[in-house]
Symmetry: C2
Subunit: 211 residues, 2 copies
């Protein structure tokens, strides 16, 4: 029986070149969107000719699809790690930090994902309604448990997760706007640490003055 996912036998060159193409495509797709990117651009960025690229990926969509599949795994990893062991507030704090680190270290991946969602998720809708939904519901239940135990304040756990996604990914997706408003980053991790400190305070204590 052929499930359509049998192991593809690849030569050394195929493996290397495919990686090269995916790296180039990530760069191009994440800044121009799927329709805004051309095979020529990707081929250029990968240092090869268009027909050569098409020898490794037969269609433009195949590149994008491969990219998205890999993306989702890395992307959801932090949420998967959110677990019942340890102190809930610490657990949430480090989830936020991990997500913020991903926005800093993998901004292209974040933008690629944002692009896809913005356009109505035409290519990954099934994954959103399947894998993603299941995972989020599962973690929402974990959070609900913490609320019932009085470990964190009672709120809507789904919207809590959304707000963590929104605030952290904002620094990757809206990077140019953040830069434009704050001015050039004066070296180091200053910007990142500012954001981390702010988000920690926001999610833990909110804005009401103490006392």
């Amino acid at each position: 029986m052929n499930t359509g996912t049998e192991a593809p036998r690849r030569t050394r060159i195929q493996q290397e070149k495919r990686e090269l193409i995916l790296e180039a495509a990530l760069e191009v797709f994440s800044t121009n969107g799927f329709r805004g990117s051309t095979i020529d651009q990707i081929a250029d960025a990968a240092g090869m000719s268009k027909p050569n690229l098409l020898y490794y990926f037969r269609r433009k969509e195949d590149i994008h699809e491969t990219l998205m599949q890999r993306l989702l795994d890395t992307w959801l990893a932090p949420l998967k790690e959110l677990d019942d062991i340890g102190d809930p507030l610490t657990e949430l704090r480090s989830y936020i930090r991990r997500k913020l680190e991903m926005a800093r270290d993998f901004p292209r991946e974040s933008r690629l994902f944002a692009n896809e969602i913005l356009q109505g998720a035409p290519r990954i809708m099934p994954l959103l309604e399947g894998e993603l939904k299941t995972l989020v519901n599962e973690k929402a239940n974990v959070i609900k448990g913490w609320m019932r135990a009085g470990k964190i304040a009672r709120t809507d756990p789904w919207h809590l997760i959304f707000s963590i996604w929104a605030t952290t990914q904002h620094y990757a997706d809206f990077d140019v706007q953040v830069r434009a408003v704050l001015g050039p980053d004066r070296g180091g991790d200053g910007r990142f640490e500012d954001a981390a400190r702010f988000l920690e305070q926001l999610f833990l204590d909110g804005l009401k003055p103490k006392g």
Copy 2:
């Protein structure tokens, strides 16, 4: 002297048709991005032929530019209203609510803007570094005043503004993902009110349990 912005004399038909085109273009651009949209699509959506559309806007870019210029005014209006009169916490709460209402009522505008920023803001960078930056800095100072007066907790006011933008616009920009995770909205304003309640609690009190 010609400043390049002298009043364009327009006939009744020109005014009407231009509005029609802009409305159609908003729909098309916001779901497909600039490069992903074709003049034909916009012309179709506006109920006219492509050459006819090009009679009113000579280039595809002109439509987009006009759209973006109008957008920024509506978009920044809520922030402009943030003012020193009244209680700071109330002021912030209603800013958040206004932004959330805009995400609900003008999702296409939000997505158009997000698309532009995602692609590096090639067409509105000057506005971000000028008008937007000035406004944000001004309001950051207002917020700083509140902090000095002990009316709200001390944090970074810029990141506070970013987090309000991020969390509210998320409901417009990532709408399909929100829908996919939460399932179909069971009528009414349920979803919106849930989000409003959650954000209010987050920004005011954070997640630490009371007491």
